[in-house]
Symmetry: C2
Subunit: 226 residues, 2 copies
């Protein structure tokens, strides 16, 4: 019966360790059982049991690589469900959070080693609009103007292009449901933005906060108002 299934799925997602794991996986990356155990603060045995249940329920899928087993979402609907829950947390009755509706995490955060959230999407949009990057298949290619821009920005793209790692590719942003920039270029931009103190990492969180300096410079270099 339908209702029984709903109860089952809700029960799976509602367990602390499991929702923590699901939250960790929101960046779209695959993680090993051990990594997820650490994030969820449970023992490897517990994690294994939890992960098994979620695979069973087709919430997660596993890809085996040697002695590692990488877990990730089995389908987009899982991310939407988790997002649906996350959207509930900002506006509790006893809210201490001020005016802004979007909690900072969605607004501006890291996704592995690059900028995600609204800020990530806006920057990516802008780089495309200014034709510093263009879509090419399922990746982004740099234009001549782009090369000049990034050089001025302080990024040596020649070095990046020689790396094995993908240079610039889209990464689906769950909160925006649109793509932001990933790859070695995205990492370089992120590092530059941090070292120049345009943004700051918030401790023990993937949240980023934008500095006044950053606001000014993002406007001057890319015409972005955040």
């Amino acid at each position: 019966m339908e209702l029984e299934k709903l109860v089952h799925i809700a029960g799976l997602i509602g367990e602390p360790a499991r929702i923590k794991m699901l939250w960790t996986l929101m960046d779209g990356k695959a993680y090993t059982a051990t990594e997820l155990a650490l994030f969820a603060e449970v023992s490897p045995q517990s994690a294994s049991a939890h992960l098994g249940k979620m695979v069973q329920a087709n919430l997660l899928k596993v890809s085996c690589q040697g002695r590692h087993r990488y877990f990730s979402y089995a389908r987009d609907e899982v991310a939407y469900a988790v997002e649906g829950m996350a959207n509930l947390i900002s506006l509790q009755k006893d809210k201490l959070i001020p005016a802004t509706k979007d909690f900072p995490f969605r607004y501006c955060r890291t996704c592995y080693d690059h900028i995600a959230g609204r800020a990530g999407v806006v920057i990516t949009d802008r780089l495309l609009m200014l034709e510093y990057l263009v879509e090419k298949g399922d990746a982004y290619a740099m234009t001549a103007q782009g090369q000049t821009f990034f050089k001025d920005f302080g990024i040596d793209t020649d070095v990046l292009l020689k790396l094995r790692r993908p240079f610039a590719r889209p990464c689906l942003d769950w909160s925006e449901r649109r793509s932001h920039l990933a790859g070695s270029l995205a990492t370089a931009i992120f590092e530059k933005i941090i070292t120049e103190d345009w943004m700051r990492k918030v401790q023990h969180s993937r949240t980023l906060s934008i500095t006044a300096k950053g606001q000014l410079n993002l406007y001057e270099t890319l015409g972005i108002e955040i």
Copy 2:
């Protein structure tokens, strides 16, 4: 911290009795504690405790009327979150369900006393497109052509218009995220469709199934193919 809140909310939604109550409330109506206790198959005391927690977390709101306390969603986000979970149930690995992606409940169901789901939205769209109804403020008004159509259809709109109850108004459909028709006209249409055996109620469920006769007639009267 953000993560703790997510764990809390997910835990609230993940409990069997609570998700059953939340599911019941998906039709947008308000229900008393006793009704919700029945739906969730728990004692009134348990239900009261569960409801208290959900009100506390601002998932539900209460409106008091005499000795009754009516519970309903505190905000749309709750419906989206529940919907997000429901979207996960159809495609489990061990699925027994055949081809159709949308499970019947979403497809065609009752919402209180009228037709909701995909079918409800399609019928409403068609009535507007054929200009039998037109939007008027936050309600629908019947046109002259509409009057003729409903008369041929076997509905005495003169009687309906004299009732206190709203004649025709939009009702947000959670699964479609669009409006379907509610009000006395919607009820009359629903009753007509049932008595003419165009659709049948599925026992102990809000699901409706469309008969062959219904398919034919919906096509002939409204040009709808379902």
